[in-house]
């Protein structure tokens, strides 16, 4: 199993009240950004990723967001390029480049090829559609989001694999001369893992392309449903999906004592946390989701990653824009902090309390890739590193053993989609829901 480390690289110096007043992180004025502090933090977060390597994580994962203190990684390829040079062993996993908002897939192909070579073949490219708010920030037409995503992806694969020069005339992109000099070291191209939160279209697309799908803190029951859907699609295509096709990213924070972990872990609820990623009107812009996806979202029990939730949909529909008083909103965020832990969507504690929860996630979801997501909010560098160390030294070794017991294979060990499934043969299960019912998480 691949065990990865991830952080949003939060900007930790805004007053929490600003996020509540703005009802979101997206759109908080950048007059709150201090480049002096930014310089310290950008360097610290690079060091933190090196520390993850030192601690024995297999991978460091990067993402990007725009116009928000929630994540300082505005151009993740810059960080990836630096990590490619200053780390030695870890895989550099991008979760992922938001293709529709970047608008120049040829440039993307070149950047990633350079990163792959500088890292000597440690890059895992991943693609996302970009959060709803990202479409506004980069003025990417939300109604073309999926078309842009798919066309950019298809173009990049060609740019990496088809000898040039050649001419490309697509619907959204046009190049009369495609001949990128830099090509990836990994052949035919770097592996690609696709993170996601709810979109059934993306899961189908992943199954069709045999790309591992990484659930981003998605609720366990619905995640099992998604795994089943992926595996059913895979079976139609003649292969058996397995742990190499699935990954899971889970917010995790550890400290020496339960009380301290719970106190600092509240950073996940800072400014209302994930639910405050963006306001309703920025979360679901027109045309960004298909009608089918919207109908499914309306039926989702929870799910607030990037602020995408049935609740946000309701707000978009009913336009409940009246701001809650600060104290009310804060109280609700803290209640959510507790509920998320009960639902295993947020793991906070000491190594002793965290370990069984992690094992349960592994048992249920059988992921080939498990990524922990470090705390948000104004938590000190020392406390962040303590959490990483406790996980790596006191939890990770047992998880590795447990993954062997479960027979989890990762997408590096086994090429996803390489296990053939004969027509008419029933596929094997890809998750184990048995622990969910006693926990009321079905």
């Amino acid at each position: 199993m691949q065990i990865g480390y991830f952080t949003e690289r939060p900007y930790r110096h805004i007053p929490e009240e600003e996020a509540f007043r703005n009802q979101a992180f997206f759109g908080i004025s950048n007059r709150f950004f201090d480049p002096q502090k930014g310089s310290e933090d950008y360097n610290y977060y690079l060091d933190e990723n090196c520390y993850a390597e030192e601690l024995g994580f297999d991978a460091v994962a990067l993402n990007e967001h725009h116009g928000t203190p929630f994540c300082m990684g505005g151009v993740m390829n810059v960080e990836a390029a630096i990590l490619a040079r200053i780390t030695k062993k870890v895989r550099i996993v991008l979760v992922g480049n938001p293709l529709p908002v970047i608008k120049n897939p040829l440039r993307m192909a070149e950047e990633l090829a350079e990163i792959d070579m500088i890292s000597r073949g440690r890059l895992v490219a991943g693609w996302v559609r970009g959060a709803g708010s990202e479409q506004f920030f980069n003025h990417a037409n939300p109604a073309y989001n999926r078309e842009l995503f798919e066309e950019a992806h298809d173009f990049i694969i060609q740019a990496w694999t088809r000898p040039g020069p050649w001419r490309y005339e697509g619907k959204h992109f046009n190049y009369l001369f495609v001949n990128p000099w830099a090509l990836p070291l990994q052949k035919p191209h770097p592996p690609m893992w696709i993170p996601g939160i709810l979109s059934w279209e993306t899961i189908k697309w992943c199954a069709e392309h045999r790309y591992p799908y990484i659930g981003l803190g998605t609720a366990l029951g619905p995640t099992c449903d998604m795994w089943d859907y992926y595996a059913d699609e895979a079976a139609k295509l003649g292969y058996q999906a397995g742990s190499e096709n699935f990954g899971y990213l889970i917010p995790t924070f550890l400290a020496e004592s339960e009380a301290r972990a719970q106190e600092l872990g509240k950073g996940f609820a800072f400014g209302a946390g994930q639910t405050a990623f963006s306001r309703p009107e920025h979360t679901l812009p027109p045309g960004y989701n298909t009608k089918d996806a919207i109908r499914k979202l309306a039926r989702q029990p929870g799910g607030s990653w990037l602020g995408v939730s049935a609740d946000k949909l309701r707000h978009q529909r009913e336009g409940l824009e009246a701001a809650d008083p600060y104290e009310e909103a804060r109280k609700r965020a803290l209640a959510h902090y507790k509920i998320s832990q009960d639902q295993y969507r947020l793991i906070v504690g000491t190594p002793k309390s965290v370990l069984p929860k992690m094992k349960l996630l592994m048992q249920v979801l059988r992921p080939g890739v498990l990524v922990i997501f470090n705390v948000q909010g104004p938590v000190s560098n020392e406390d962040r590193m303590t959490s990483m160390r406790l996980f790596a030294q006191e939890v990770m070794p047992e998880l590795r053993e447990y993954s062997k017991q479960l027979g989890l294979v990762d997408p590096i060990q086994r090429v996803p989609g390489s296990v053939k499934l004969a027509a008419g043969v029933a596929r094997a299960p890809v998750s184990d829901r048995s622990p969910l019912a006693p926990l009321g998480l079905q």
Partner: protein, 282 residues
């Protein structure tokens, strides 16, 4: 020609006269541009082509009723807005205007009087710029399509549907027909209809935002008789847009309706209908 009478449940419109006998309007389809285009038709007399706004056709209102006394209203339901399938090749408002120009030719409506509301006004202006002979006259009501020198077209895409709807009228409480468009609660079907409309509008008008930089230049010298209707409390289309339309369309008549927002046709239906009837009669 089919004569498919359908109750329009979405807008709670009964589609019947007071004695529940004669339908006031009916839905029809016409094959044009490779698609079955849905239309709402009603009234009698010479055809009056109507382009609905970026939120879609909002139902048969008082102003429709009044104009239908003298004219046959022909209201195409824009491709991609739910009833008519989306056409992939229509990628901006100029393309859409070309589609409607083909419809006008194929239905032999030309030259036709046209009223366009908001984005519908933009469509009408694009048609006039491309082929003035298609139109006998055009009435542009709070039209999108030209970037104002002062002020900005409202960024209604970065708003919830409800806020967008409410921004279209100056006084939601004292505009009874606004309740027919949005009564305060949305069924999933209504939500999807608005979502379709907003998605298609975004697809076509995202960049540059809800205008064409060349439109003012293409309109110069176009001699189609034009009426521009604008509510002085319009928060979607600022006065600067109307000013630039009036500059480009020399001789256009500008009718400013005091106290109305972006939907003068339902906010001040009396004044709106009077202005349109006077213009069409001239």
């Amino acid at each position: 020609m089919s004569f498919a009478v359908r109750r329009n449940g979405r807008f709670n419109d009964t589609n019947l006269t007071e004695n529940n006998a004669v339908p006031k309007w009916y839905e029809d389809t016409v094959r044009t541009g490779g698609v079955d285009l849905a239309l709402v038709k009603g009234g009698s007399g010479k055809p009056l082509l109507i382009f609905h706004d970026e939120l879609g056709y909002t139902g048969w209102m008082t102003w429709n009723e009044r104009l239908a006394e003298e004219r046959t209203l022909v209201i195409p339901l824009q491709p991609g807005f739910g009833k008519t399938p989306r056409l992939d090749w229509i990628r901006d408002f100029r393309d859409l205007a070309a589609f409607y120009a083909r419809m006008v030719r194929e239905m032999r409506l030309d030259p036709v009087d046209v009223i366009g509301f908001s984005a519908g006004g933009w469509i009408a202006a694009e048609m006039a710029a491309a082929d003035p002979h298609l139109l006998r006259s055009m009435t542009l009501v709070g039209p999108l399509g030209i970037r104002p020198r002062r002020g900005e077209i409202l960024n209604f895409i970065a708003m919830t549907i409800r806020s967008h709807l409410r921004a279209t009228v100056a006084d939601t409480v004292n505009t009874p027909e606004f309740g027919k468009i949005y009564g305060g609660e949305m069924t999933p079907e209504t939500f999807e209809a608005f979502e379709d409309a907003r998605a298609e509008t975004t697809r076509l008008g995202w960049e540059p935002f809800m205008h064409s930089p060349s439109l003012p230049y293409r309109l110069e010298g176009v001699r189609v008789p034009a009426l521009i209707v604008w509510g002085d409390r319009d928060s979607v289309v600022p006065r600067g847009v109307v000013e630039r339309y009036a500059e480009a369309l020399q001789g256009a008549k500008v009718e400013e309706i005091r106290g109305a927002g972006h939907r003068p046709e339902i906010e001040k239906p009396g004044e709106f209908v009077r202005a349109v009837k006077n213009f069409l009669a001239a």
